[in-house]
Every structure is written in structure tokens, then in C-alpha cells.
């Protein structure tokens, strides 16, 4: 454990490849990194884990000189360094493999590896030497590539190997990988881990960003957990259990401030049976998911982000095809319906990535509140919009949902995150839909707005809506849900009653420990 405020002592200096002290970075009012200390020992694999938005990438971009911290200092190999840009970091022996690769598809592997620092002979590029050197490095670290092949023809996994080779060729002794497994197949991930181990075997240091517990447990020596821009702890991996890690990631202070409720279970509105789906990489993202949602109940989906929740929401709203299984909304097979027809059949959807799917930032509040109902009376008749009605309706919703805006003509981009979410909720909750699919309703929303949003969800429950609430925040689920289903790796690991929500049991299931005695049964 690294002490919170103390600077590294003298004898630690030599040992530390990287030491960050009190790093703070703000974007406007948002604090992305809040006084973070981080010490990475030479020769270890140091994982930095945290939810999306916890501040991992910001911290690494600061370390690599892509961003400048507002406060705090950086020591590289024991020397106080102002990292004004990547060139400084590279000179100090740092190398970074980004989430998005920067390769030239028309060039060969070796040419890409040496791009910008070509080996020359008589003023010309010495291709043979480049190929030989690439081959040597790839053999040494188990990074299988054919140096002569053209990059445009290769898979993402191999592209990542090329990025790693690029970093090695530039003399990196400390390698930062930003979510390296996000684009890899499980097989490729295992190969990557072997490579990482061969790095430390040669005395190099690896910093590795992830939000996947499994791989962190598998490969790292030390873990630093970030949450909401703050460091939670740095611990040796061996001392940690998976559920401890989950608890640190999602927050200890899970408050079980449960909303009072009357029992109001009605008919089955949504029925999901043995649903399978693939993600954008064509890998299974949903595996045999079955559950039901009844009117007047809130069913929560818990889980660490990236375990199939996004895909589930997309399948249910018609934006992603299911590869197998069936989902029925009020008895109608969703697979046969277009997104528009699903909406007409009774879906309202509060999307997880609200800035992309939930609103058009450049359009007015009124125009945003029109989406999905532009073909219906009283908003339009015979295909002609009635802007008076649209505008009046928007004004009413602004008042009802307490949206802080000047009026319906205000552009959505002028609003705060919480108010933008309220625009989405106002639109979706007033659609008279029987089924509400609510994904991360309070992500990036301030406390006051969170309360209001939770109140609104409970009102919808009381009005007899069937609600599926997807959230990575356990306290939110515990407060609102009647039942909580826990997802891991595309499966539902088990079900917990909302009023008996047990942090430890949910944590175990979120970490992938099956709870057979609690296996989900269609209720």
C-alpha cells in the first residue's frame, strides 16, 4: 500500500518505474482525476481497474504526456519529470498502446513498426534489417506476426501486436496498455498475457488498464482501483478476492435506502427466453438469457459494465438482432418487428449512451421530445407537424420534470448532464408505453437530479408499468428494484430479491461465481 500523502522515500526511488503524486485533472466542472497517487514498481504488472468513467484513461494520458495535469507531479525512474508531451515520455522509456490503433494499412508490418524511425543504409530504407529486427522481437516476446505482410489484411489482434512491437522498438521499458483486451478474442487475450509476462521476465514494467476482473486477477501483480476519479486502493493482487475487488470498484458505501412501495405485480409484459446475441466483434455477448418482467415491477440488471447489458438493451429495442432465442413484448415476437414497430408495441427506452442514442445535442428540446411520436396525433396529422402542440407539450414536460432550461427552443447541448437525462426521461415516460427499458438512468447525473429520476421511476412503477432497470450502481438497484438479476459474461448468474439485496452475494455473482441455489427461474 502506498501512503496517501507521503512522497516516495529515497530507497524506493530506484525501485519505482513510475510515481504519480496528487494528480488532479478537471474538465470544466467535472473532476476526472482527483488527487491520485500511483506508484508502479519496476518489473511488475500493475493493473489499473475501474468502471467506465472512473478516470483510468485520463490518468494514463497524463502519464504519457497527452494531457497536462492541473495539479500533482510525476516521477519517472525516480526523477521528477514534467511530461510536456509523448516525446518526453518515450525518451524516459515509456510506451503506450492505445485503444485505437494508428497503423498504415497499405504498409507492411515491419514498415509500420519502424515508421518514423526507419533503419537506413546509404540513405535508403533497409527493409531486410527492419524485417529481421521485427522477426527477432516478435520471437523473443511471443508476438507472432509475419513482418512482410500488409497491415490492411490483418486482424485486430495482430494489429495490437504490431502496436506493441512499435513501442518496443522505440526502446520502451515501461509499457502502458489501455484496455488491451477490449478488442481481443479470449484466445488472443491469453496470448497477450503470456507476452506481458515475458516482458516482466526481462525486467520491464507493465501498466495495464482494464475493467475486467477476471483478467486482472489472472495476470497482474498489483491492482490499483479507481472510482469516480479517486483512487480507492493499491493492493497486491494475491491478497485480493474477486468480490473484494468488485466492492472496491462499485463502491463500499452502497446505501440501501430502499424506496417504499406497495406490491403491484401484474401481468407478464416482457418475456425473454433463451436469448443469445453477438457483440460487434461477432463474439457471444448474451448467453442463454431468460427472465420476465411484469407490470408494476422493477426488475434490475446488475453487473460490471461490459458483461452483456448493452447488448441486452439493444436486442430488446430492436437495434441488434438476436442470434437465438425469443423475446416477447406483450406476446409479440420482437424479432419480427422494426425499432419503430417495437416502440408502437409498447416500448419506451432510456438508452445507456444518452449523448449518442438518447438525444440530438444540436436540436432543440422540443425537437428532441418529438422523437418517436412524430407520426402520431396530436403532434402531427396527415404527416404535417403541429409545432404549436409540440412546443406546448415540451413546455409542459419541462415543467413537470423540472428541467432547468429557458424554454422548449433551447438546444439540448446547453443543458447539464442531469437535465439532458431528464429530457430523455420526460419523452420516454410520457409515451404511454407499458414496458420501460431504462439503462444507466443516473450515470453522470448529479445527486439532486438522481433523486428526482428515482422518484419518477417509482411513479412509473406505481402507474403499472413494467420496468427493466439496467445499472452498474448497486445502491440504485437496491433502492428501486423488486428483483435483481446479476449478469456476468453474458449470462444471468442468479437472482436476488430487492429487499434482501446482499452486497456480498451480488458481488460474488458479479465476479462470476455461480450461485446455483439462486439460479434464475422464470417467475
Amino acid at each position: 500500500m502506498v501512503s496517501n500523502a507521503g512522497s516516495p522515500t529515497l530507497h524506493m526511488k530506484a525501485e519505482m518505474a513510475v510515481a504519480l503524486t496528487g494528480i488532479t485533472k478537471r474538465f470544466g466542472a467535472f473532476v476526472a482525476n482527483d488527487g491520485i497517487d500511483l506508484a508502479v514498481r519496476r518489473g511488475e504488472i500493475h493493473a489499473i481497474i475501474g468502471e467506465n468513467g472512473a478516470g483510468k484513461t485520463t490518468l494514463m494520458n497524463i502519464l504519457f504526456g497527452l494531457l497536462q495535469p492541473d495539479e500533482g507531479s510525476i516521477r519517472l525512474n525516480g526523477e521528477e519529470t514534467v511530461v510536456t508531451g509523448p516525446a518526453v515520455a518515450i525518451k524516459a522509456g515509456l510506451g503506450m498502446v492505445h485503444q485505437h490503433f494508428k497503423l498504415v494499412p497499405s504498409l507492411s508490418v515491419a514498415d509500420n513498426v519502424f515508421l518514423g524511425m526507419e533503419i537506413r543504409r546509404h540513405g535508403l530504407i533497409d527493409h531486410a534489417a527492419q524485417i529481421a529486427r521485427t522477426r527477432e522481437l516478435s520471437k523473443r516476446f511471443g508476438l507472432q506476426v509475419d513482418p512482410t505482410e500488409r497491415v490492411g489484411l490483418l486482424s485486430v489482434g495482430i494489429e495490437q501486436r504490431i502496436e506493441i512491437l512499435k513501442v518496443l522498438v522505440r526502446g520502451a521499458r515501461t509499457i502502458i496498455l489501455d484496455e488491451p483486451t477490449a478488442v481481443l478474442t479470449p484466445q488472443e487475450s491469453r496470448e497477450l498475457f503470456q507476452t506481458l509476462r515475458s516482458f516482466v521476465a526481462e525486467g520491464m514494467t507493465v501498466i495495464f488498464i482494464s475493467h475486467h476482473l477476471e483478467e486482472v486477477m489472472e495476470v497482474s501483480d498489483t491492482v490499483t482501483v479507481l472510482r469516480n476519479g479517486k483512487k480507492v486502493a493499491t493492493r497486491p493482487t494475491a491478497e485480493l478476492s474477486k468480490d473484494e475487488l468488485v466492492r472496491m470498484m462499485v463502491g463500499r458505501e452502497v446505501s440501501f435506502d430502499r424506496r417504499p412501495r406497495a406490491p403491484s405485480r401484474g401481468e407478464v409484459v416482457l418475456q425473454v427466453e433463451e436469448l443469445w446475441a453477438r457483440d460487434d466483434r461477432r463474439l457471444p455477448a448474451l448467453r442463454n438469457v431468460s427472465f420476465t418482467v411484469r407490470s408494476g415491477e422493477v426488475v434490475g440488471i446488475a453487473g460490471v459494465a461490459g458483461n452483456g447489458q448493452t447488448e441486452l438493451a439493444e436486442v430488446l429495442s430492436g437495434l441488434r438482432p438476436a442470434s437465438h432465442g425469443i423475446a416477447r413484448l406483450k406476446g409479440r415476437n420482437l424479432a419480427a418487428l422494426s425499432p419503430r414497430e417495437i416502440r408502437r408495441a409498447g416500448l419506451a427506452h432510456v438508452p445507456g449512451d444518452r449523448m449518442v442514442r438518447g438525444v440530438d445535442r444540436n436540436a432543440s428540446i422540443a425537437a428532441n421530445m418529438l422523437m418517436g411520436r412524430q407520426h402520431r396525433a396530436p403532434w402531427s396529422s396527415c404527416g404535417v407537424l403541429n409545432w404549436t402542440v409540440i412546443s406546448q407539450n415540451a413546455s409542459r414536460l419541462i415543467k413537470d420534470f423540472d428541467i432547468r432550461a429557458q424554454g422548449p427552443g433551447d438546444a439540448v447541448k446547453r443543458l447539464s448532464g442531469g437535465n439532458i437525462q431528464k429530457v430523455v426521461l420526460a419523452r420516454e415516460f410520457t409515451n404511454d408505453a407499458d414496458f420501460l427499458l431504462i439503462d444507466q438512468p443516473t450515470r453522470g447525473v448529479d445527486i439532486g437530479a438522481q433523486e428526482a429520476i428515482h422518484d419518477e421511476i417509482m411513479r412509473q412503477r406505481a402507474a403499472g408499468r413494467a420496468i427493466l432497470l439496467i445499472s452498474v450502481q448497486l445502491d440504485e438497484l437496491a433502492a428501486l428494484a423488486d428483483r435483481i438479476l446479476v449478469m456476468f459474461n453474458g449470462r444471468i448468474m442468479g437472482e436476488v430479491a430487492g429487499d434482501g439485496a446482499d452486497e456480498d452475494r451480488i458481488g460474488m455473482m458479479m465476479a462470476g461465481v455461480a450461485a446455483p441455489e439462486l439460479a434464475a427461474e422464470p417467475a
Binding site: F27, F30, A32, N52, G53, A54, G55, K56, T57, T58, G229, S317, L319, S338, P339, R340, E341, I342, R343, R344, H349, P351, D353, M355, V356, R357, G358, V359, D360, R361, N362, A363, S364, A367, L370, M371, G372, Q374, H375, S380, G383, V384, L385, W387, G409, D410, A411, K413, G417, G444
Partner: protein
């Protein structure tokens, strides 16, 4: 909202001002007086009623092509093939005009209708590939221009050449003429068609459910998809409409001005229209003014080359500078937007 509007418009004005300033510097470098050039341009564009009519005559094809571009831009489609659609529309109108004698009025409408159909049919190929295989419409529509121009050349030279003429079709019959507005100018009712189109497009985008869907597909496609708009089909329809208007532009030129189709008769109007639409930020009503601006520049430049020692090409240079500053400004704004948008989620 007013502030947004102002910010957008100020960007365009700055872009044009920067271009004009650079243009003035170039004029100085070639040894002319920018003031004299400006005065001559104004005189050439608005000096007397004939000059004004001449300016409007130049404005007409830019305006109609600009509306075609606006329709595409609104729906998030970059139709760079308006040029080709104009050529095919122009040829189709001429063909109806010289080959099928019909009663007055009906003849003209039939020729325009075929021009519209030809433009739409021509863009249908890239539009289909866009909808079906997600082919980049910018590349496919640009390339279709070359095919269209050469195809009409082939039709003109090898199939329908006026005997003894210079690579042009026979003249169309007077029944198919788009009538001229004034006796003293070739200015014709095509201008009115352009204005009606601009207003119509603006109304459709603003006041119909369909137009709302299209606008949303253009500005936030994932949002539109989520909201139940069929993004692919909408993109296809939008490109088709854009192409149809592009074809109409060619028909208007043929029936209103040239009264026949000439090989390679109107290069660049498609691109001028696209620039006008971009400068107008995709707004059909604003395109009326940007098209007028470019029309006046072109028309004024015709006097410029006679009355001063400055070359008419200076206008091409200024136009290119406007494109550069507008696209630079668009890029800057996009970057600002995307940073603000992604900042919340990506740390």
C-alpha cells in the same frame, strides 16, 4: 438559440470575409486595384436590369443544384454527383424536347419530368449500394459524375448528333421551351422553380414528420435509429430526391437556356451548388442567398475580364478560398462538438 444561430452564421461570414481578403491580396499581387475589381464586379452583377437578369440567370442552376445538395446534407448524405445528375437530366429533357412532339406546356412538363426521373435513376445506383452495402456515397457519386458526363457525350456525338452540328443534339421544339421572363434576357421561369423548390424543401424539413425524421438521421443517426426511423431507407430516399432535383437542374438549363443538349455544356454547376449549400449550412432558404452570391460573382466576373486586366479566374480562386475557409470552419466546429460530446464518457 439566437446565440447559436448567430454563432453559426458568424462562422460563415468570417469564412467568406477571410476568402475575400485573401482574394484582395492576390488581386494586389497581380497589380490590379481591389477596389476597382470590386466595383467592376458589382457593376457586372447588378449594373442595370440586363446585368441583374444575367446574375439571376447564373444563379438559377447554382440554386437548384444547391437545393439538391441541401436535401442530401439534411439527411446526412453527401451527394457529390449532382454534376452527373444535371448532365443526364439535361440530356433527358433535350431528348423529350426534340424527339417527341407534344402540345405546348405538356411537352415542357414531360421533358422536366423525364429530367427528374433521369437524375433520380442515376443516383439510384450509388444510393442502392449505400443502403445495401454501406458503400461510401461520396466516392461512388463523385465517380458516377465521370460516367454521366461521358455517357451524355456518347449519346450526343454518336446517337443524336445534329447533322452538321458541333457535338450537340438537334434543337428542342418551341413547345418544350421554359418561357423567358423578360424580353431582354435569357432569364427564364427556371428561377421560379428554384425558389419554389427552396421554400418547399424548407417547409417539408420543418413541418412534416418525414422531414423531421430526415433531419434527425442527418444530425444524429444513432438517435434517429433508436427513435424508430429507418435510417437506411431514409438515406436511400434522400439520395434519390437529391438526385431528382439535380436532374431537374439539368432539365431547366436545357429547356430554359440552351434549347438543346451540348456535350460538356455546363461543367461545375453541381459543385457550385454543393458549395452554396455548404456555405448555407444545409438550409434551403439560406441557399437562395449563397447561390445568389455565387451567381453574382460569376456574372460580375464576366464583365471583370473585359473591363479590367484581372483575369476571371480570380473568381475561381476566391471560390476555392471560400471552400477552404468553410470546410476549415466546419472541421473546427465538428471537433469542438465531438470533444464536448465524448468528454462525458471517455476518460
Amino acid at each position: 438559440m439566437i446565440r447559436d444561430r448567430l454563432r453559426d452564421v458568424s462562422g460563415q461570414i468570417i469564412a467568406v470575409a477571410v476568402a475575400l481578403l485573401l482574394g484582395a491580396i492576390i488581386i494586389l499581387l497581380v497589380g490590379e486595384s481591389p477596389v476597382r475589381v470590386l466595383m467592376t464586379l458589382l457593376r457586372g452583377a447588378f449594373g442595370d436590369q440586363e446585368k441583374i437578369a444575367g446574375t439571376l440567370l447564373q444563379t438559377t442552376p447554382i440554386l437548384i443544384c444547391g437545393i439538391a445538395a441541401c436535401i442530401g446534407l439534411r439527411g446526412g448524405m453527401f451527394n457529390v454527383g449532382i454534376e452527373g445528375q444535371l448532365f443526364l437530366g439535361g440530356f433527358a429533357a433535350a431528348w423529350v424536347g426534340f424527339a417527341f412532339p407534344l402540345p405546348p406546356g405538356i411537352h415542357m412538363l414531360a421533358a422536366l419530368a423525364l429530367a427528374v426521373a433521369a437524375g433520380a435513376a442515376w443516383v439510384a445506383i450509388p444510393a442502392y449500394f449505400r443502403a445495401r452495402y454501406n458503400t461510401n456515397e461520396v466516392v461512388s457519386t463523385i465517380l458516377s459524375n465521370y460516367v454521366a458526363v461521358l455517357l451524355t457525350s456518347y449519346f450526343t456525338i454518336f446517337l443524336f448528333k445534329r447533322p452538321g452540328g458541333w457535338s450537340e443534339t438537334p434543337p428542342i421544339l418551341a413547345t418544350a421551351y421554359l418561357p423567358e421572363i423578360f424580353a431582354f434576357s435569357r432569364l427564364n421561369w427556371g428561377l421560379a422553380i428554384g425558389l419554389v423548390l427552396a421554400l418547399g424543401a424548407a417547409l417539408i424539413f420543418r413541418y412534416t414528420s418525414w422531414g423531421y425524421g430526415v433531419t434527425m438521421v442527418g444530425s444524429a443517426p444513432k438517435f434517429a435509429e433508436y427513435g424508430g426511423v429507418n435510417v437506411k431507407r431514409q438515406g436511400f430516399v434522400v439520395l434519390l430526391l437529391s438526385g431528382a432535383v439535380g436532374g431537374l437542374a439539368g432539365g431547366v438549363e436545357t429547356l430554359g437556356v440552351h434549347h438543346r443538349f451540348m456535350e460538356g455544356f455546363a461543367p461545375g454547376f453541381g459543385f457550385d451548388g454543393l458549395i452554396a449549400a455548404l456555405l448555407a449550412n444545409g438550409s434551403p432558404v439560406a441557399t437562395i442567398f449563397t447561390a445568389l452570391f455565387f451567381g453574382a460573382l460569376r456574372s460580375g466576373s464576366l464583365l471583370l475580364e473585359v473591363d479590367t486586366s484581372a483575369s476571371r479566374e480570380i473568381i475561381t480562386v476566391i471560390q476555392a478560398l471560400i471552400i477552404l475557409s468553410v470546410s476549415a470552419q466546419v472541421l473546427v466546429r465538428r471537433r469542438g462538438d465531438s470533444q464536448a460530446g465524448e468528454r462525458r464518457w471517455k476518460f
